[in-house]
Point group: C2
Chain length 691, copies 2
Amino acid sequence: MRIEGTSDNESNMSEAAQTDPLVLFMPSGKRGRFPVGTPVLDAARKLGVYVESVCGGRATCGRCQIEVQEGSFAKHKIVSSLAHISEKGPKEERYEKVRGLPEGRRLSCSALILGDLVVDVPQDTVVNAQVVRKAASDRVIERNAAVQLCYVEVDEPDMHKPLGDLDRLKVMLEKDWGWKDLLIAPYLIPQVQQILRKGNWGVTAAIHRDMDSSRPFIIGLWPGLKNEAYGIACDIGSTTIAMHLVSLLSGRIVASSGTSNPQIRFGEDLMSRVSYVMMNPDGREAMTKAVREAVNGLIGKVCEEGGVDRHDVLDMVFVANPIMHHLFLGIDPTELGQAPFALAVSGALQYWANDIDIDVNRGGRVYLLPCIAGHVGADAAGATLSEGPYRQDQMMLLVDVGTNAEIVLGNKARVVAASSPTGPAFEGAEISSGQRAAPGAIERVRIDPETLEPRFRVIGVEQWSNEEGFAEEAAKVGVTGICGSAIIEVVAEMYLSGIISEDGVVDGAMAAKSPRIIPNGRTFSYLLHDGEQRITVTQNDIRAIQLAKAALYAGIKLLMEKQGVDHVDTIRFAGAFGSFIDPKYAMVLGLIPDCDLSEVKAVGNAAGTGALMALLNRGHRREIEQVVGRIEKIETALEGNFQQLFVDAMAMPNKVDAFPNLATVVTLPERKVVSDDGGEGGGRRRRRSRE
Amino acid sequence: MRIEGTSDNESNMSEAAQTDPLVLFMPSGKRGRFPVGTPVLDAARKLGVYVESVCGGRATCGRCQIEVQEGSFAKHKIVSSLAHISEKGPKEERYEKVRGLPEGRRLSCSALILGDLVVDVPQDTVVNAQVVRKAASDRVIERNAAVQLCYVEVDEPDMHKPLGDLDRLKVMLEKDWGWKDLLIAPYLIPQVQQILRKGNWGVTAAIHRDMDSSRPFIIGLWPGLKNEAYGIACDIGSTTIAMHLVSLLSGRIVASSGTSNPQIRFGEDLMSRVSYVMMNPDGREAMTKAVREAVNGLIGKVCEEGGVDRHDVLDMVFVANPIMHHLFLGIDPTELGQAPFALAVSGALQYWANDIDIDVNRGGRVYLLPCIAGHVGADAAGATLSEGPYRQDQMMLLVDVGTNAEIVLGNKARVVAASSPTGPAFEGAEISSGQRAAPGAIERVRIDPETLEPRFRVIGVEQWSNEEGFAEEAAKVGVTGICGSAIIEVVAEMYLSGIISEDGVVDGAMAAKSPRIIPNGRTFSYLLHDGEQRITVTQNDIRAIQLAKAALYAGIKLLMEKQGVDHVDTIRFAGAFGSFIDPKYAMVLGLIPDCDLSEVKAVGNAAGTGALMALLNRGHRREIEQVVGRIEKIETALEGNFQQLFVDAMAMPNKVDAFPNLATVVTLPERKVVSDDGGEGGGRRRRRSRE
């Protein structure tokens, strides 16, 4: 066998090799010459092409399916034909009869190479775009799962060679599959004897090859052929726990679901949960129990949905923010509530699922991504893995907006990270008419700059508020409040239409122009909707949004200063919030720095996608462990100029920063200073010239 | 620094090195030159001389004590003087004041080299001769325990470098002690934070460097300096569980004790326990529970005796015969009760103590030596490690006599092993007047070949039965039966005095000569003692002993044939039985082959000694794992000539084998055939010439 490069220099080849058939695997493009009669699976293995196989070439598991592409591939100088692969033999025919083979599919363990071939390895690993929101494209995660199923036939006991049952099993796993120095999960030791006999000496072992101990482990053992194993990727958020159930053999997402984090009953936000631990002697234990129960419940839910026995779940990857991470592991999070925000543990961790009361297979393993810093958790590490700023040359800004915004900025050369205390305003809390995204919530807002009249969309209603039939439909769900995405839009539109100044003050003078500008004590509000519920945007609401967006922007700016850049090339919004807001409005409001709008993308639960990547490919675990080790962590509170950056960022979009890209798509208002406290913000503009 | 050989060729040394002081460490003899001012501990480390240290050179643990030997050591060309070592500094003086230092002892971490020195490293590791019976000599086990205590001072948390508490602990353990890629016992993860703060960032970590996973593990963590750690070596016998409690830091045996194996209530011998498992659905579980409880109880006992908190036990080594081994681990032993006697597992195993319900430190580890074969267990492996036939050129026979005799024969070149079903006769069972070794039991017997009158000793009585004062003393304890060692002696003496023939038949004709030969149905008995209890040796007793010794001898012969030898150089009797029998009588009876009597030694609980070696030196674990892999196992039942060897061995000492060494110290009777079944044994003698 000779492995060829992609370049076509076949001149160096020996006569013998020249006559061997050439096989090209797609989509990897790996190619090589193999003697006539070589099984396609062997050729794939030798070239390092990933083809699953559980039965080890016995044509019983059906996992090693491939397809031959017929035709003349001029570029590769290959004429591939079905005549160049052997007919189905009796084993493969038996498999087809019993289990069925899709049209065109062959078992690569049984199909022999007879001539030049282009072989397609079907990719069942596309991540479902609806599950993991990807603005860009569906993603193919190269598979290299930590768990592999290996069927072996073990020698029967022999008095002359009194090796134990387990020891003979290990011998065969080394002989057939190459596993050296195998260890075994202790719980299995008393079962080996019976499982071997029940399987009539044919058994399937689940090998975990990514144990923190470096040596491969037998974590599961079944009599006969076991042809399916599952994994779980889970993001434990403060509010929501999200989970994917995945086939470790095909890479297919079997089910995805989410549930509320039951810790909410101990405190809505992270800090109130830390307080609960500090105030209640059993608080930590109760919250650990609650989140583990919720995870177990959610495992039950995804398994039921996918028709999977939870005991077939063998590997799990978790991401979480630092406080959730600690509580999940039974670690007191009190230290995270105060400076210096010391993590009890920051590195990646592994457990037996059973060690932390997670009910899956008794030998199931748990991997947790590393935390980046006290407020930049394993979830941020997951998002970083998913979006990969460190894999590219462009300067990428990755923000995950929640109660704490986690911010990562970088490229191949250098990555910096920080968190910024945005507070819950973006989630609709602290906003007078704020509410969670649910039917009845206003989700989109436009304001006519001439008339100052609004039009809006409500969740659960097809029409905009100015369209025919809206009133009828809206009556069914009600118009009950403003959700996070609409808060951004309404404040941005208020700014664009001149209702508020760049400093965020509602201009009382506009009351003369529109009855929607209404006095509210010493300040003014904007009346967005006057129905059963009167929905206004108050001066306080605007201040809350300003504080939140200024915190986020100042954090971003701090990282940009660390990187020595005055703009970013691309922006990724992770998290649910990012999926619903319009990047343009986020920029008008100055949540994010100026950027080509086509380079601003929402990437959904990127943390969960990162967990999924680490689940399906253990190489990604090493990758993120190394990357996190390299990320420079910035503690915003310790940076001398954070306060100034924050104050500048209170203005819309910003007191000092220009937004040239934004200006090409939106006409930003003339600067207009309307102060509610007599202050005059323009003075700070001079700061820029000093820098 | 220059490490010198033991030869004195200093001619090659450079000028600089020549002027450096020469330091010689005893008893290892390792030597080297070090610059003036080098701490003695550093010199030891560089030479690979084992000196314990927990505090890492802070002069607080006191573990690194050494003594300077004063005088002129002509052989080594060293004049060693107390003037060649620095005076005690303030740290060492503080230690001496607080904790005390024995006269002449110095802390090697603080004492600096000023001139040539001969340094004695005190060996506290001598295995107590009374605990581990060693006919030969006390043994020094070179120390290399799996667990090491390491004190470190960890950096306080820093917002700028947000590494977790655990991660900073690892950094310091690598920096100060060189531990790379450390893992941690999961149970500790939630505790790290608090322990670090409680110790004001100074903590002692217990590092286990012999995990089966290959990577070192933090298994324990204490605030401040933790200066003691213990280990347990345990032999789980069918009848008795024996245990040593050892300081892992000094190697000192703190306490030794034993307890009955409570499984006795399920069956006296191994096979009856296997039957119990087969007959009772919960039998395996009940026996596992019983033995684990007994082990836990015994741990409590040795810890109480040694004044040690059981939670300070961090490492344990177990040996056991295969059935005890399986039951202890919760493995069904049924397969061991029938051919092919399949072990569920034969290799060495490791566990968290907690995994198998052993109550020591939560991070305590358990190591089990490998089993050699279905009837040659980890106990035989322990005895093999202790006596080391594979370490020497002589052909060594190692026998552990119990209900099953475990036999190992070999030398450097090759080791073979087998078990032989001797039955319980040697332990006094199946013998009419047999009893366990206890006060009142006859333990020594001599018979006058002229008068056939016996004299004997009774356990608990100083005098021999023919000495003055015996009757008085014996009245206090009674004369209640014959223990194992005396059974050997009385039968051997009966043979030497002509009462029985070489075929073991009591010669009725002798009744004319002595009233002690008394008829008993169709056979005759020998009246050993006629007191409150009438103690006789019946024809059946002799048959039982013959069957037992023939089984043992035939097994030995089989191994000798495999090795192609007709004699052995040295014999080791392991086990309690071996400690009490007189090798001469064992040879007269033909339990063991002919050998120079000075080369026959009882070695006590060699299995336990092997466990102790594996506890104190992890190198011995690798050693025995490799050796067991090389040992050739012989299944006696499968060997065609076992039956013939067995029949030959029924005779005393043997029908066909000569005992030239024995003949030099004992006058063996003329061959005399007295058959009770008309057979004539002499015919078989011809077999020898055929071989």
